[in-house]
Symmetry: C2
Subunit: 306 residues, 2 copies
Amino acid sequence: MKYAIIGTGAVGGFYGGKLANAGKDVHFLLHSDYEYVKKNGLQIDSCDGSFHIAAPNVYNNTLDMPKADIVIVALKTTRNHLLNQLLPPLLHKETLVLLIQNGIGPEPELQKHFPDLYLAAGLAFICSAKTEPGRVNHQCYGSINIGNYSCKNETLFKTMIADFIEAGIKTAEIEYNEARWKKAVWNMPFNGMTVVMNAQTNELLAHPATMQLIRRQMFEVIGAAKALGVKNIDESFADKMIENTLNMTPYSPSMKLDYDFHRPMEIEYLYSNAIAEAHRIGYSMPCLEMLEAQLKFLNKKQCETK
Amino acid sequence: MKYAIIGTGAVGGFYGGKLANAGKDVHFLLHSDYEYVKKNGLQIDSCDGSFHIAAPNVYNNTLDMPKADIVIVALKTTRNHLLNQLLPPLLHKETLVLLIQNGIGPEPELQKHFPDLYLAAGLAFICSAKTEPGRVNHQCYGSINIGNYSCKNETLFKTMIADFIEAGIKTAEIEYNEARWKKAVWNMPFNGMTVVMNAQTNELLAHPATMQLIRRQMFEVIGAAKALGVKNIDESFADKMIENTLNMTPYSPSMKLDYDFHRPMEIEYLYSNAIAEAHRIGYSMPCLEMLEAQLKFLNKKQCETK
């Protein structure tokens, strides 16, 4: 099994690194860190035990990479337009592309351009950040929920999951929509609220007003998911997510980091797509729609001052 | 008719100044500006024609003031707890107290402490600010809606309105609840949103996402008012308010100025009271409830960093 990692950052660097460290055949695409990692390797500082990949297979162009059985896409969704060019050199007839990305809808969107491609969703419950070139800091958690979107080769899919588990990654296979919407229960409140309120997760949960608001926003996501027919999700999941967050060290979600470092925010996949899906069946998420509007305003303001 | 002005700032200074400039017998209570105004008078820079009150009747204590027929309270509602001490020296048997204040509920709250007092609400549609001691800058608008809450002396009430009109103030008598809730249609979206988004009115209306959100929030207020039985208010009022705001120069509402100058915000009267009134009859305003939570969070954060 050959793995290609598209986007070797906080997420792709961690999961790709774990697979490589377990002896899997992993090929990393890098962009700004290419020269550094080629020379110095990849360092994973992890709460579960740090490790170093001294000589990873690194590339700065997918044209130079071997065809892969599994392509792991760990780009921000704001860069998904690049996939039309990045993917083709990596694909053989039965390649499975796993999108470890947040939000609702990246698989159907990509499937439009590659109708026969095998696709799966990876939802990472992880606190990690790329702290410097070639260096990932894994603070806590790290499990991944994987949902099959359109992979018809069951053996390939199961082998990938077995590889993940063998590499020490806590991995669960769950239904595709359940995987995406469950992650949205955490993502939609915390990503936007940390940006708009300029605060970390712990501060938001320390004030009763914002704690209640976060819970209300979680209920909006759960309500939308239930209305859309997603199984195994109910209001108690909100309490579990809040409990987990209270146990985390103070955390800035990826959108907060993106905003602070003047990178584009994943508003489309994290908010607009979810809101549009819910509207399609007549379900409204007023507080999250308000949050989307606030984020769009901040995004535009930041672009204008660049 | 003797007038007492409690709170000689952007609002009290303007309306009290207009009355004094028209020859009415007006007595001003001042706090920080007392010495300055005693020496230099009161300057009103107004889009309708500037004027100067050279020797106003000024006091720094209501114990020194004459009893008044009309007491105009133009304090922020965050200081309404002071009224229990400030008012009694000014009251005779038939004094009417006009609360020119924003929000829902200041009259019933004050009536609890003064059960027989005549009370009325004044809702000012004005862009003004106190720019320096003893100086008010009146940028635009300036009309006032007055609603009778508990004044049993109809002659007194009508005389006050006639005095306002004589002083060149565009004044309308409207039903009490209509007066308070109509003003809330503008106040609730713009006060909070300018604070949370750190933007002026024009910026919020220039982005389609926040423009739509402001309209949605206005609809929430209108919906609550209608559910509460308020007359003469419907969705078209939102368009009128947005239209008016588009015609204003870029504006920072009072709550935005309060926040920027590290003063407490009027969250209780502008948001919590309105939300509680609506909840009492089972009506919810999700976007404004979210805004209230965001404001409470910011308020607490600012208090902590003081």
